[in-house]
């Protein structure tokens, strides 16, 4: 299983993204980390090029609705909607359902235990993955 952990937008807080990346790697998942300040378009390209199962977006700036929509739209436009998108960060409760309605598979608001996040990534693996 391959995962892209990405930081879209201008937000520079990468503690959560890096902690999740480390945890996924310890769970035997191959992890690519985008680095800071990637545009949604860059993230879509990287996800497709690296042929990942899941894109994990980490957003702590409040701009999550817009950025998640851009990534989802970009994946659909490139016929890559089978790549799951999950979102973590400072997501207020009222936005969790809105993100899921957009097509985000899972949302990890502040305080989500790390083991739960790892499990959710596992669930998002594409069929045919090597497990």
């Amino acid at each position: 299983m391959r995962v892209l952990i990405a930081k879209p937008g201008l937000d520079g807080h990468d503690r959560g993204a890096k902690v999740v990346a480390h945890a996924l790697r310890d769970a035997g998942i191959e992890v690519i980390y985008s680095g800071l300040k990637r545009t949604p378009e860059e993230i879509v390209q990287e996800a497709i090029q690296e042929d990942v199962d899941v894109v994990g977006l980490s957003i702590l700036s409040g701009a999550h609705m817009l950025l998640a929509r851009r990534v989802l739209d970009g994946l659909r436009a490139q016929d890559a909607a089978d790549i799951a998108v999950v979102v973590g960060g400072t997501i207020p409760p009222r936005d969790v359902e809105s993100l899921k309605r957009l097509g985000v598979q899972d949302v990890f608001p502040m305080g989500t235990p790390l083991p739960e996040i790892v499990k959710a990534f596992r669930r998002a693996e594409r069929p045919g993955g090597e497990g």
Partner: protein, 531 residues
């Protein structure tokens, strides 16, 4: 008996006694408050003469909205301001830049031109209020705007007290609002320090932040070690320009956290003050006692707080305030209990301010200087912390020094590694967190959501963009263009860029225009992505 460790990693004994103070020399290592090496604090009588400054971090939406919140807190006894800027401002993007979409006014107030800083400080006398500006990559132009507003208000330069953060090294390590490569970024830091030392003698042109590095995951000892290493790097930068150490060192200030174990935090600051004083006096040969003083904002630490049962964070905030008072803070700022959810509500801001006031006025923590001095435990912890900080400083040297460690990404990778270790200790329960990994209640999650959420108003962005268009149309474009050309020209040389930046600011050049003029010359930083 269960083994316990400090956040710095060393073990904590169940009891301490005189035998734990072996090797400590009272006069050499501890001394008296207000005297070298300042282990016990930088002032003789500490809070009996002057309480710490209370400086909550505020800013959101437009400058006009932020101005109203400033006035609200000042009406309730807050005596200084700490301005939050939105991400486009921090990164030198105008509010109408495509990259700024969705981010204008989100995490702080939006600033495009001098007109915005004029609105933010309308009715606030800048010769009487001290203002921190949480700005780094764009510290030079934003501080130039601040100086220009002060000038327009008629404030005498020697009465203007501002503290731009201007600590770019910690941005590369932890907070991420870098723009240019490391070397030109450091040049801008030095330009602002030099300009301020010459023209605004009471401003504090750099605030070295361990705070954000700790928030990104490092240990207590690393927080202090990295802060000291960064401060030394800035001192060396200024010495290389030919400035005398005593001409700028007295205005260097710090920004650190105090969350976690109270006594360990106090020990961290006592050890840090001692190490800093020795570094400035012995290594850098400073002779002005003010150059030896580690003056710090202490507080913060949203990562101390939890999203579960958010009201508990009010209690955690009180312990942070207590730790800050016992540690000898010059300034204090607390996270608000709703921080994990939202831009703080006025109520949450007021509770944080009241928490500091109660600590100051009611608790007795401010009655006498360094009240924990002489405690077997705290003195032993101070010694242990000093040793650990020195070990971490030696590790930084092995990475090639802090500037090289930042360029290679080695220090960033170490901070991320520590963040993961910390998280594992939370998951295992080794670091207890009430209502998170122990004493977990059966309260439904919905009850945790009973916080007033800030409603982001998209019309604020429209208003900001409209104002920017109006300023661009009204200004003398020729003057603004000429100033921007001069800025780009001088960026190619080695002159102090604050002078052309001041000129551009006063011509109402936009922040994005100034940032772009420098980007053409400096290029952009390429992050060394390492896990």
């Amino acid at each position: 008996m269960k083994e316990l460790r400090a956040h710095a990693g060393f073990p904590i004994a169940p009891a301490y006694g005189p035998e734990d103070l072996a090797g400590v020399d009272f006069e050499r290592d501890i001394g008296r408050p207000g005297e070298y090496p300042f282990t016990r604090g930088i002032h003789k009588h500490m809070y009996r003469e002057r309480l710490w400054t209370m400086r909550q971090y505020i800013g959101f939406g437009t400058p006009e909205e932020t101005n109203a919140r400033f006035k609200y807190l000042m009406a309730h006894g807050q005596d200084a301001l700490n301005v939050a800027f939105d991400l486009p401002t921090q990164l030198g993007l105008d509010s109408d830049d495509a990259k700024a979409e969705g981010e204008v006014g989100r995490v702080g107030m939006a600033v495009d031109t001098l007109a915005d800083m004029e609105a933010a400080f309308d009715g606030i006398p800048l010769d009487r209020v001290s203002v921190s500006l949480t700005i780094n990559g764009m510290a030079a132009p934003i501080t130039a705007m601040y100086y220009a507003v002060a000038e327009k208000q008629g404030a005498a330069p020697e009465r203007v007290v501002t503290t731009p953060q201007n600590d770019i090294l910690k941005e590369f390590i932890a907070r991420g609002t870098w723009i240019y490569p490391v070397d030109p970024s450091l040049r801008l830091v030095a330009d602002l320090i030099e300009f301020s030392a010459r023209h605004y003698p009471r401003s504090n042109p750099v605030s070295v932040c361990g705070y954000h590095i700790r928030e990104a995951g490092c240990t207590t000892a690393q927080e202090m070690a990295y802060g000291l290493a960064i401060a030394a790097a800035y001192v060396e930068l200024m010495l290389a320009r030919g400035m005398a150490v005593d001409d700028f060192a007295p205005r260097i200030s710090f920004n650190f956290t105090a969350w976690g174990k109270i006594f360990e935090e106090v020990a961290k600051f006592r050890a840090g003050r001692r190490l800093y004083a020795r570094m400035l006096r012995e290594r850098f040969q400073a002779s002005n006692p003010r150059s030896w003083m580690f003056r710090s904002l202490i507080g913060g630490g949203g990562s101390a707080f939890a999203v579960q049962e958010p009201e508990n964070n009010i209690v955690r905030g009180a312990y942070i305030a207590l730790a800050g008072a016992l540690a000898g803070a010059q300034t204090m700022a607390l996270p608000t209990y709703d921080e994990a959810y939202t831009i703080p509500s006025p109520k949450a801001q007021l509770i944080a301010l009241r928490t500091m006031q109660i600590c100051a006025e009611e608790s007795g923590a401010a009655d006498t200087a360094d009240p924990l001095a002489g405690s077997y435990y705290v003195e032993a912890l101070t010694t242990a912390m000093e040793k650990q900080i020195l070990d971490e400083l030696a590790r930084v040297e092995r990475m090639g020094g802090i500037v090289e460690a930042v360029k290679s990404g080695a220090v960033q990778a170490e901070v991320a590694r520590q963040a993961y270790l910390f998280e594992q200790r939370i998951v295992s329960g080794e670091i207890p967190k009430v209502a998170v990994n122990c004493h977990v209640g059966d309260r439904p999650a919905e009850a945790d959501r009973d916080v007033e959420l800030y409603s982001f108003d998209p019309s604020a962005t429209e208003a900001q963009v409209a104002k920017l268009a109006r300023i661009r149309a009204e200004r003398d474009d020729g003057v603004a263009r000429a100033a921007l050309d001069r800025l780009a020209d001088e960026a190619r040389g080695s002159a102090n860029l604050m002078y052309p930046i001041m000129e551009a600011v006063k011509a109402y050049a936009t922040l994005g225009e100034m940032a772009h003029a420098m980007k053409r010359v400096f290029g952009e930083h390429q992050e060394a992505v390492r896990l």
